[in-house]
Amino acid sequence: MTQTRSLIDENGIRTDGRTGNQLRDIQIKVGVIKNADGSALIEFGKNKIIAAVYGPREVHPKHMALTDRCLLRCRYHMSPFSTDTRKNPAPSRREVEISKVIREALQPALMLEDYPRATIDVYIEVLQADGGSRCAGIAAASVALADAGINMRDLVSACAAGKVDDKIVLDINDTEDKEGGADMPVAFMPNHKQITLLQLDGKLNSEEFIACLNEGITGCMKVYEVQRSALMQKYFGNETELKE
């Protein structure tokens, strides 16, 4: 990626009016789909993404069932109207890869050994895309899994960090992704301090790499607060702290 124009002005303000370490507005609504066992709608900047969880339930086709643990299936899909130019509804190679990395990002948090021979299906539908949709999708899916009452070790939070105008910034938007210097999506289990997804494209030297990773993790901790309060809101109303 070669950057052609300046994306941060002299006051350190980015194209969408944010500062370097500021996230876009995030809103998560839990339980938006009546038929699903768990669901969440995330609005992450202009991203609008629905995650629905069905399961644990019987596996079809049956031969896919695992005897010692639950099968986890995941589909990340973009609606044809979610992007600037219409997206072909058939799954692209990009979507196949993202479905795989999202599944692998969620799996460490799930106690799949508790549901042998069953399956948990996670459907992530991007209704409007705005850069960082895989991270927003992971955040929504992990809330939907918790909403479905699946046994979990931790929530999975996700956020991208990156390099714009040679500065490390948090939560890359669509323009910065396309024109900036680097994009690093990170998924993180906040209580276990474990990384479950890490990708990078762009160019970072050693110091920038570490700084970017740290920034991404900081972003994940902020996203975690939003995820947690969304779940609290649904299950405990306006109480903000769990009573022991």
Binding site: R75, S99, K193, I195, L198
Partner: protein, 275 residues
């Protein structure tokens, strides 16, 4: 839809435990140290019909990559650049459990991660490969055939692609009366940098470089890091069902940079003498 597959090789639990215990004590089943590569054997230019080719043997893994150059329309949004297309196919020759058919998600991930390493490092100066900007550009195909599976397809495939490209001779096309004419001459492709991919498997609390099939069957997580000639990181992909700690990512990044430089020197020697 993406779903977790059973391990592609069936490994007895006893054997798995043996591998895990050995690795926990800093040793490996094949006697390598944790950051040692398997024997790497490279043959360059063996496919004469291709514009460039490389046959890479990394332990038991064998990959052939071939470069074919044509002209065509540029990609949307990249009108003034040549088009680079990297693909990979696991041939049915590669293992007993591989069947012919459309690529599965693991093969798609493989091709995309290898492509990302080459593309994001800007190995090829694609802006020098436009003939009529916006209309006709060089289209460079790098197709990889995995002919034997032996673990760590990511690095073996990436090395094959990089070496095939770096040693290729591409045709000189000219535009005469708005038509593409092959002058019959050949040229070196515009190479900026040599990206090197390095993959680790986390098994228990240890990271091992260049995992074999058996090590992959009992790994908890995988991470692939690509560095360019300046030692900058240009692509990363975490894979597999487990997690990595922050410290493990940092240590993998450091080793990837050192090992990447060692391999780069070897590749540079090969590309200057191997033709």
């Amino acid at each position: 839809m993406s779903s977790s597959r059973r391990s592609t090789i069936i490994l007895e639990n006893l054997r798995k435990n043996q591998i895990r215990e050995l690795i926990a004590s800093g040793k490996r089943l094949d006697g390598r140290s944790p950051d040692e590569l398997r024997p790497l054997n490279i043959e360059i230019g063996i496919i004469k019909k291709a514009n460039g080719s490389a046959w890479v043997k990394l332990g038991n893994t064998e990959v052939v990559a071939g470069v074919k150059v044509e002209t065509g329309e540029p990609f949307e949004g990249l009108e003034n650049k040549g088009a680079l297309i990297v693909s990979a196919e696991v041939l049915p020759t590669a293992a007993s459990y591989i069947e012919p058919g459309p690529p599965d998600e693991e093969t798609i991930e493989l091709a995309r991660v290898v492509d990302r390493g080459v593309r994001e490092s800007e190995m090829l100066a694609l802006d020098k490969l436009a003939l009529i900007p916006g209309k006709i550009v060089y289209t460079i195909f790098v197709d990889c055939s995995i002919i034997n599976m032996g673990g760590n397809l990511f690095d073996a495939t990436s090395y094959a692609v990089v070496l095939a490209l770096a040693t290729s001779k591409i045709p000189v096309f000219e535009i005469i009366d708005e038509k593409v004419v092959d002058t019959g001459k050949i040229q070196d492709p515009p190479i900026n940098t040599i990206p090197v991919s390095v993959t680790f498997a986390r098994i228990g609390d240890s990271l091992v470089l260049d995992p074999s099939t058996e090590e992959e069957a009992c790994m908890d997580a995988r991470i692939t890091l690509t560095t360019n000639s300046n030692g900058e990181y240009t692509a990363v992909q975490k894979g597999s069902n487990g997690f990595l700690t922050i410290e493990q990512v940092k240590s993998a990044a450091e080793t990837a940079k050192i090992k990447g430089q060692e391999l780069r020197l070897k590749f540079q020697e090969l590309t200057t003498t191997g033709q």
